[in-house]
Structure formats: C-alpha cells, structure tokens
C-alpha cells in the first residue's frame, strides 16, 4: 500500500523542483501608481509580467467609492491622468482600481497625503513662470524688499521640491513595485505543509473513529 504513495510523492517532489525556478510568476493583477506633480502615473501587470492592454482604470474616492474618472492602460499596461480638481480641493483619498476583464481586478490606494504635498506648487509651469504668481499672491507691492526675500525663499523651496521629486520619482516607483510581494519558496512550502498537516489530521480522526467502532 505504501508504494503508490511513494511514487506519487516522487512525482510530486519532482514537479516541485521543476517549478521552483518559475515561482516568480504568479496569477494576480497588480497595479501601482505614484505622483509627479499634478499627474499620476501608474503601471499594471499580471504577476507573470504580462501587461494588460486597454484595461479599464477607475479612479475612485476611497471613502464612498464614487467614480471620479476612468481611463485605460496603453500597450505597455501603463496609464496616467491629471489629478481631478475636486480631489485636490477636497483632499480626497483615492483608490485606483484596474479591471482587465475575465475576473482580474487589482486595487491601489493613493492617500491624499501622497499626492498633495507635491501637488501644491504647479510643477509643469517651471520656475520663470511661477515667479509672478508668487509675487501677486504674497506681496502687496513687488517693490517691497522684505517681500522679495519671501518670494526667493518660496522659489527656492519650489526648486528644491521639484528637484527632489525628480530624484525621488524612480525611488517611489521602485517602492511601489516592491510592495507587491510575489510568492516565494516559503509561501509554497508553507502551503504544502498545511495540506499535509490537514491530511494528517484527517487520518488521525479516521483512525480514532475506526478504533472506536472496533
């Protein structure tokens, strides 16, 4: 009676050893997004690194799931959209949802804190253009020397922010990408261990039942 199981076990262990190099592949639709200025960039992928093309992205208010806008992924599974004004004004926490059909769906939360900090200065307008707006906003008269200092400080802040953001963008991208942990050996062996443990439990219960009936 032992022999068939031994063969099954060997078959099974063999198949596992063949599979292990492949374990980075998984079946899940992941999505991640990061902000650069007032534009949100995002990427989607099945964990086997296949890209869902033309998949629907819905941007929702995380609190009540009201849809703020929808967009679609391009050929590389990437997408981008400009922050909706409402969201910026009301500091909404966002939830990005990707739906690639066939029951594949992924979510990525994007809290207000993550995009608002960098969003306040209009990044795309650049340094030169932003100067006059700052002046009109914060100085009653442009000739006032104390206010010029203030403007310079703000300008400096903005430049630093902009530069930092440029340097941080790839880092954020990497962090976002790594948040998704694909299954590793530990998960697989853990799962198999569970199954064998359950089998042992079942065997023990049946053995007890047999003993009792004798």
């Amino acid at each position: 009676m032992n022999c068939p199981y031994r063969i099954l076990t060997i078959l099974f262990l063999f198949s596992i050893s063949v599979l292990l190099p492949l374990t980075a592949h998984a079946h899940k639709l992941r999505i991640f997004a990061w902000s650069e200025g007032d534009i949100i960039y995002g990427e989607t992928a099945f964990s086997g690194n296949r890209k869902p093309k033309n998949a629907e992205i819905t941007v929702q208010d995380a609190a009540n799931h009201a849809v703020l806008l929808t967009t679609r992924t391009d050929e590389q599974g990437k997408f981008s959209f400009t922050m909706p004004d409402d969201a910026v004004r009301e500091h909404l926490d966002l939830l990005l949802v990707v739906n690639a059909g066939e029951g594949h769906r992924g979510e990525w939360p994007l809290p207000a804190a993550e995009y608002l900090v960098l969003n306040t200065p209009p990044m795309s307008t650049g340094v030169k253009e932003s100067k006059p707006t700052a002046v009109t906003n914060h100085a009653s008269s442009p000739a006032d020397p104390t206010n010029t200092v203030l403007v310079d400080e703000q300008l400096l802040r903005r430049i630093v922010d902009e530069e930092l953001e440029k340097k941080l963008a790839p880092l954020r991208h990497m962090l976002a990408e790594n948040k998704d942990n694909s299954p590793d050996l530990r998960d697989i062996l853990g799962g198999i261990g569970y199954i064998l443990g359950l089998a042992g439990l079942l065997a023990w219960m049946q053995a007890k039942k047999q003993q009792r009936s004798k």
Binding site: T9, A26, N99, G103, G190, Y194
Partner: protein, 200 residues
C-alpha cells in the same frame, strides 16, 4: 482563472459558497483512510500548479490540473480544491476569501464532470490516453464556461466573456490535456492502484 474579490455580486458569491460547502461535505465523506494521502498530494499539486505560467495567449494563463485531480479523486476533489484555493488566497493573494466558494465551484465541478464522463474510458488501455487528454482539456473548458457564467450573472454579457475566457485558455487546454495524458498513462503503467480503476 481565479476571480478576484470585488467583482461578483452577492447572490453569486452566496450560491457559490453553498454549492462549494455541499460538495466539500460529500467529498469529505468519500475520503476514506486509503485516499487521504492521494487527496492531499493532488491538493498540493493543484496549489503549486497555479504558479506555472504559460507564456501564450492574450491573457494570463497558468496550469490548473483540475482534470487530473477530478479523474483521480472524484468527489474528494471538492475538499482538495477548496483547501488549495484557500491557501493560494492566503499565501499568494490569488482570488480571495470572499470568492473562495465561487472559485471552488468553477474548478471542482468540472473536475467532477470529468470523473463521471471520462473515467469509464480510462479502464480500457486503448482509450486511456485519449480519455485522459480529454479530461485535462474538458476540465479547463468547463471551468472557463463557469467563470464566464459567474461573471455574466454579476455584470457583463455571457457570450462575449465566455468567448474571451475560452479563447485565452485554449493553449492551456491543450497543455493540460497532454499533462493529464502522460500522468495517467504513467500511473496506469507503474501504479494502477492510485487510479482505483477496479472500483466503479
């Protein structure tokens, strides 16, 4: 072919859960002392199979092995698949706990169909390879249909969804057909007891 959380409507989820629970109870009754280990091993195989991706087709397809599981285990496929899917949901975040019932049904019902439809043909060594191939392919086909049905009952049209899913899974049907064929003929030659061919 795992359906993610947040897609299906509540009635589909609940009926899926009820069917899966009923199947599991029947299945557990059928698992006698001698069948515990084969059930556990095939459950483990199913658990790991979903990590093997086939780089073909437009979508993301992976091995399922529910045909093989079905013809060997029959009703015991229900608990085997339920446990494997539960662990996949926990460890790999495939599917999810809320959709566990539906996912179990879409995998285990085709497995059971294979058991009843194909198993009679396994006894004859001549028809065995073809029958095993059919079991592997048929299980995936039926699973695709059930997934499409579950999605259709919740939202989009059945026919288009079914076409897309079946289309995406054609390569996997063929591959599973061959895997099931080789495994079954190998087992029949080396250790026919595993297949329980003497039993009805």
């Amino acid at each position: 072919m795992h359906i993610s959380e947040g897609i299906l409507s509540a009635p589909v989820l609940i009926s899926g859960g009820v069917i899966a629970a009923a199947g599991t109870v029947i299945g557990l009754k059928k698992v006698d002392y001698a069948r515990i280990m084969p059930t556990a091993l095939l459950s483990s195989a199913f658990f790991v199979a979903s990590l093997i991706h086939v780089p073909l087709g437009p979508g993301s397809v992976h091995l399922v092995l529910n045909g093989l599981l079905g013809i060997i285990l029959g009703w015991a496929g229900f608990p085997a698949i339920l446990i494997a899917l539960f662990l996949q949901a926990i460890f790999f975040q495939f599917g999810g706990l809320v959709v566990l019932g539906v996912n179990t049904v879409t995998m285990a019902v085709p497995a059971l169909c294979c058991y009843y439809l194909v198993r009679p043909w396994l006894k004859n060594p001549k028809t065995r390879p073809v029958a095993a191939f059919c079991a592997g392919a048929l299980a995936i086909f039926l699973s695709s249909l059930l997934v499409a049905l579950a999605l259709a009952l919740s939202d989009s049209g059945f026919l288009t969804t079914a076409k897309v899913i079946i289309g995406a899974n054609v390569p996997i049907m063929i591959i599973e057909g061959f895997i099931t064929m080789f495994t079954v003929t190998f087992l029949a030659r080396v250790q026919p007891e595993i297949l329980h061919l003497d039993q009805p």
